[in-house]
């Protein structure tokens, strides 16, 4: 039992960067923009958050910096893919390469430096009264840090936004059929930019969770491919923020499973376990494409640039 609680609460921690990144990706893909720059934006967020944390010791400023860095990365992508209608895949990949390089460059003087104490104590575990006392559930979900609680809130807000507001409806319409959305007086370009940029900000935060809380120090290539797992996770979650929570913690759990099992005396190579998120994603992909379910299908205009006067 204790092993399970320990493992699952660690899975929530490990899944949190994935949650932020996949929510960001969902926002972007919901308006039809596949952004493969998630890994790059996470790294930009991670390094910016860390530098600001070291310079100011302010957790709020650090998070803000991380979000802005991710947003800046998304802006580069947005200008390319939305305004200039370049190929989304290539634009996203470029962003990842750019972000990786930039983070290594900016982070060079900070390698192996630890996160300041003020930050560490701010993000220390803060049990929520009452909820934290629920057996099993409590220690797993409600004896965590503020960043994780912020993640919960974000899921609820985004879920409500996407499914229950007019803006959410409009945004889904843009991702499905921008021409129809345009004809219904929705400002397609604005919707695309807003969601791609917000998505980038969330990716930046996802990266910052690594450098500020999870690791917590700066090391080169700190994301180690989590951004790519997030890309798979978006599909796994069928573009639904609620399912993204489940997926993030599941994938988070898989990334630490090898070490945990070793601790319990079972020896499985971590590299083998590392493959499981992708295997699971492939299985889900197959299931989703077999089902012909309209509900789980990707946004129809995903990957396609929109030009109003196209004939």
């Amino acid at each position: 039992m204790d092993w399970w609680i320990g493992f699952l609460s660690a899975a929530v921690v490990a899944g949190t960067p994935l949650l932020f990144a996949s929510l960001g990706g969902i926002l972007s893909e919901r308006v039809g923009n596949q952004n493969l720059g998630i890994e790059g934006m996470m790294l930009m967020g991670a390094v910016s958050g860390f530098i600001v944390a070291v310079k100011t010791s302010s957790p709020i400023l650090a998070m803000l910096a991380a979000a802005l860095a991710g947003l800046a990365g998304a802006f580069i992508y947005g200008v390319l893919a939305i305004t200039f209608r370049t190929n989304q895949v290539v634009s996203g990949l470029t962003l990842t390469m750019f972000g990786t390089g930039l983070a290594s460059f900016l982070g060079k003087p900070y390698v192996s430096m630890m996160t300041p104490q003020a930050i560490k104590s701010f993000f220390a575990s803060r049990p929520i009264p009452i909820l934290g006392d629920i057996p099993f559930i409590g220690p797993i979900f409600f004896k965590q840090d503020i960043f994780i609680y912020f993640g919960y809130a974000l899921v609820i807000v985004l879920g409500f936004y996407i499914y229950k507001t007019r803006q959410g409806l409009n945004m889904r319409a843009v991702g499905q059929n921008p021409a129809a959305a345009d004809a219904a007086s929705i400002n397609v370009t604005l919707y695309k930019y807003v969601h791609v940029l917000l998505g980038g900000a969330l990716c930046g935060l996802g990266g910052a969770y690594l450098s500020l809380v999870y690791v917590p120090s700066w090391q080169e290539n700190i994301t180690a491919g989590l951004g790519w797992i997030a890309v798979a996770l978006i599909i796994f979650a069928t573009w639904n923020p609620y399912k993204a929570v489940f997926g993030s913690y599941l994938f988070g759990g898989l990334t630490i499973l090898g070490f945990r099992l070793q601790g319990a005396g079972i020896h499985i190579n971590q590299y083998l376990v590392d493959m499981t998120p992708y295997v699971v994603t492939i299985l889900v992909l197959i299931l989703v494409s077999q089902g012909h379910s309209v509900k789980n299908a990707p946004p129809k205009s995903l990957g396609l640039p929109y030009f109003r006067e196209e004939r």
């Binding site: 229950k164 507001t165 007019r166 803006q167 959410g168 409806l169 409009n170 889904r172 319409a173 499905q176 059929n177 021409a179 129809a180 959305a181 345009d182 004809a183 219904a184 007086s185 929705i186 400002n187 012909h292 309209v294 509900k295 299908a297 129809k300 109003r308 006067e309 004939r311």
Partner: protein, 512 residues
């Protein structure tokens, strides 16, 4: 000078796409409370003009006035705010959303209160007798329903000007009549309705005035009462034209194709064809009528060997085609030609030139490693001359850049050149101008005279009745009846398309 200001006035509108001049110095005036037709052939610039009124395109030059005030539309939003709503030829709806959600798109406000909103929408749809199920997902709707939804969207926003772009192209005669009633009701309420069409009888029936466009210019605006179809056609085409379609009366030959008990099931489990049975004879044109998506596509593809068949037989010369691949059919020496609905998708390779497209069907008979282009070049030249194809070149010019009519001619020319015994054509005249349409009808008649068995799927019932020997009506994957085209009316076919059987050849219609 006339001091009267028109409700909508478009002055000197010019719009070009690259080198193509879609609209050149077009003028249009529309009054309140009138139904105004825009009449013209495909490519005359009707849709382009209306897309400028609805803010999708911005004109290169020219001005638009609403009630005398100059307006400029930079986006569909500006146009909608000015009270203009458009129902596009290709519906602009979100397939995965419900009708209600589609209506609510693009509105101001925060949280969605679906219940209250739905009440409001339901009121409006009742007032105009629009039949739309608000909770139905658009994907599951018939074409007629989708169109009603599009009109509902416009009415919900309280627009005063409604533009309908070829709304009747996909409707049964009965659905068309319903649409006309809605248009009349809007007219009574002081709205202006702009009606794009190339169907003469509809224009004569429903409109108050007609503006004829030809090759991107305004030809003339007339009062519908003071004109006639003949005059309108002449204005539209630019020269005198015989509109009648000739039917070659001849004895039909032997049985060519016998289809029995044919059932096709789609991937998602829907039955697309249910126990379809019919016979096709040499030297006849068998028409196929039906609402879009009633199984026409599956029928064609099953015969051509492209569609997996669940059960049933397609017997041709003692071979069951249902079990053969297209390649096998060719190898057996069965000369069958298929002109598919989707010309550039299935019929031709869009990015290749005409010669290469002809080679696609020829190379299989060639021996050796290298392609011999010569015969294909000669054939391309021959088809170009015979069918009067307008092209900058038969090689090094991708077929996708040709106009729709010319693409169709390339495809038909290739297929007919193989001197087929069976010709299956799906919507061969869709989107073509009148001249080309008649050229294609002539080609079909020629084939019939050569004792080819022709299966002709088309959406224009008038054409089917005039051209075919017999007409098979499909509804929901079932054959409702195969009737003699000599004594059947459009209305009767319309009823059968909805799944109702019509007794006998006379217009005795069974109740229900």
């Amino acid at each position: 000078m006339d001091n009267h200001t028109a409700y909508i006035e478009m002055v000197g509108i010019t719009k070009t796409f690259g080198k193509v001049i879609a609209n050149h110095d077009i003028n249009l005036q529309v009054e309140k409370g009138e139904i105004h037709a825009l009449l013209g052939e495909n490519g005359a610039g009707k849709s382009t003009l209306m897309n400028m009124l609805s803010g999708i395109y911005t004109p290169d030059s020219g001005e638009i006035y609403l009630e005398g005030k100059k307006v400029s539309f930079n986006s569909p939003k500006d146009s909608i705010d000015a009270g203009i709503g458009m129902v596009h030829q290709h519906f602009k709806v979100i397939e995965v959303m419900t009708a209600a959600e589609n209506v609510l798109l693009g509105q101001k406000g925060g949280i969605l209160f679906k219940k209250e909103e739905k009440k409001k929408i339901a009121e409006i749809s009742e007032r105009y007798h629009l039949q739309v199920e608000l909770d139905k997902v658009v994907n599951d709707m018939s074409v007629g329903e989708k169109q009603n939804l599009e009109i509902l969207k416009v009415l919900y926003r309280g627009e005063k000007i409604l533009i309908l772009d070829e709304p009747t192209a996909v409707l049964t005669p009965q659905e068309t009549e319903k649409l006309f009633q809605i248009m009349r009701r809007m007219k009574e309420n002081g709205c202006a309705v702009l009606f794009i069409s190339h169907k003469m009888n509809e224009v004569m029936e429903i409109t108050d005035r007609v503006t004829v466009l030809r090759k991107g210019t305004t030809i003339k605006t007339l009062n519908t009462k003071e004109t006639n179809p003949q005059e309108l056609t002449e204005l539209m085409v630019g020269h005198k034209m015989d509109l009648s379609i000739e039917r070659v009366e001849q004895e039909r030959g032997d049985l060519a194709l016998k289809v029995s008990d044919l059932t096709v099931v789609a991937n998602d489990g829907h039955q697309k064809l249910k126990n379809v049975a019919f016979e096709l004879y040499f030297g006849e044109i068998l028409g196929v009528a039906g609402i879009a998506g009633s199984g026409q596509k599956e029928l064609c593809e099953a015969i051509a060997g492209l569609q997996e068949v669940k059960s049933g037989e397609i017997m041709f010369k003692g071979e069951n085609l249902a079990k053969l691949t297209p390649r096998k059919i060719i190898e057996l020496g069965i000369h069958m030609s298929f002109v598919p609905e989707d010309r550039l998708g299935m019929g031709l390779v869009a990015g290749m030139d005409m010669v290469d497209n002809l080679l696609l069907k020829k190379y299989q008979k060639q021996k050796g490693l290298f392609l011999d282009k010569k015969p294909a070049i000669e054939q391309a030249q021959k088809i170009t001359d015979e069918l009067e194809i307008v092209t900058p070149g038969i090689s090094n010019y991708p077929v996708k850049n040709l106009s729709g009519g010319n693409i169709q001619k390339v495809l038909l020319g290739r297929e007919l050149d193989l001197s087929p015994e069976v010709l299956v054509t799906a919507y061969p005249v869709r989107g073509l101008d009148i001249n080309t349409c008649h050229k294609i009808y002539d080609l079909l008649n020629e084939s019939k005279k050569d004792m080819v068995a022709v299966l002709f799927i088309n959406e224009d019932l008038d054409v089917l009745i005039d051209l075919c020997d017999r007409i098979m009506v499909l509804s929901n994957g079932e054959v409702i009846d195969v009737v003699d085209a000599h004594n059947i009316t459009k209305e009767e076919i319309g009823l059968m398309m909805l799944g109702k059987r019509v007794k006998g050849g006379d217009s005795v219609v069974s109740n229900n």
